[in-house]
Amino acid sequence: METLITILVGVLVTVAVYLLLSKSLVRVILGTAILSHAVHLLLMTMGRLKKGAVPLLGENAESYTDALPQALILTAIVISFAVTSFLLVLAYRTYKETGSDNLDALRGFKDE
């Protein structure tokens, strides 16, 4: 299981990186979203997978899965949600302001 999930993480990262390298702002943001998916899965696999029960006490189990990564992922999810939403709105505002979502056009001001 872990191996396959890890490979899945790799695939997700690959896709995300590819998207990040695009010209279109939309793709870049999608890329960041996928990156966060990937890292959440990665964090998950770092605790042992599927060993033990759901981390709810009272399910009378011998052992529980590693709860700490879960807590971390929860925090990470919330944070990446916050960032993604901000980034999205930023993209929206940028488009409204500049009329472009093409990062090549949004190069920034030049000096000379």
């Binding site: 990040l20 702002l25 870049v28 960041t32 990156l35 966060s36 890292v39 990665l42 964090l43 696999t45 770092m46 605790g47 700490l68 990564p69 971390l72 925090t75 990470a76 944070i79 916050a82 960032v83 901000f86 980034l87 930023l90 993209a91 505002r93 940028t94 302001e97 500049t98 990062l103 949004l106 190069r107 920034g108 001001f109 000096d111 000379e112």
Partner: protein, 494 residues
Amino acid sequence: MNNILVMPMIIPLLTGILLVFLRPYVLVQRVFSLVSIAATVAVSVTILNLIQSDGILRLDFGGWLPPYGISFVADSFSMLLVLTTAIVTGILLIYAFSSIGRAHENMFFYPFVFFLIAGVNGSFLTGDLFNLFVCFEVMLLSSYVLITLGGRKVQLVESIKYIAINVLSSWFFLVGIAYLYGTVGTLNMAHLSVRIAEVGQGSLLTVISIIFLIVFSLKSGLLLYFWLPGSYSAPPTVVAALFGALLTKVGIYAMFRVFTLIFYHEPGVTHLMIGIMAAITMIGGSIGAIAYNDIRKIVSYNVVIAVGFILVGLAVSTEVAIQGSIYYLIHDMIIKALLFLIAGTMIYLTGTARIQNMSGLIRNYPLLGWLFFITMLSLAGIPPLSGFIGKVYVGQGAIEAGAFVLLAIAFLSSIFVLYSLLRIFLNCFWGETIINEDDDVPLKKGMLIPMVLFGILTIALGVGAEGLAPYVTDAAHTLMNPKIYIDAVLNSDS
């Protein structure tokens, strides 16, 4: 249990929240923010002195002992930075009062500043790796908002790059935490150190440490500083000054902490890398600083140079060098704030950022000109201003460690700093006065006072370096002897 430890973070945080409620009352916001910054400064001073008498302090949140809960750990190093942060922010706020404008003040400008400070201070204080990530995010999100606040085209365009790259770096951070947790199974930094020392920093852990190196390099602008010049030249002056003074420093702090506390076993790999990166950073920053005619760009590249310079101390990792880095770090926070303020004020006064279009400003604004002059000298490490002592110590450390190439680059870079700023000074402040008396934009008192305060600080810090010496010595000593830190964190008597 030292609840006072949380105050440098909680006071700004609470202030930020309360200021949200006070949105319509700008004056109240101003007063309130000044008061709470003053409180933060007071608290920081108290803690700093407490550390001198009681050793490293620790606060376990919720009473959960490390490594299980999250702790704030305050040693001299972190508290020095916290204190400087508070002071710098306070002065910058004064500048903001007269420069940022009603629209911003009504749009939660002050709350965001305070959240930023909360994030910065939290990053300095936390003893937990994941919490460090969270604090980073608090800081970063505020910085995202601050950089876009105002919604000008440049800001939006540059902020996209800034945010995208920072999102990436946060991602690397999480990946690093994931790997580290996977191998070592803990998150508390002291505990990590203990566990890694136990099994030895094998090649796997070294590779993981490189991920952290990348993360902090991205945040601090070590080698991976591509995002920095653009995004630091986009936002309003105060924000740029805040960024220039604080943001990269957090990355630097984290790098110092992680590579002296946790991954210090393989200096041949990690510290060598840091050294090479610092060298390239200084070179890149130096050539960048003289490559442009835009004041903001020049100033931003100066930030880059300083980052490289400070990390020379970490790269050579002798106690003296680290002392130098700490001195320089504090100096840099103050002087970069001043530099950005002056640059911003110049642009405000002339309406242009290009040095060819300014001339003879010193006749109209003599004080501004001399402040810039002092800043220039201080940045170049010319005595007796604040950059001097740090430079000496870093140089001494480099010599002791035999890192002559680093020494040469570091010292040469200060000449580039001087040259890049000399260009501004000669072109903009000296020369024929082209603004006639009528077109003179008045320089507001509210803008001048904070700059003068910074000027005084840089002189005071240079002349009165001895006053800082015990703290800095203690800080460097703690950094070089991770055992002190570990003992303070993992003994469970408090």
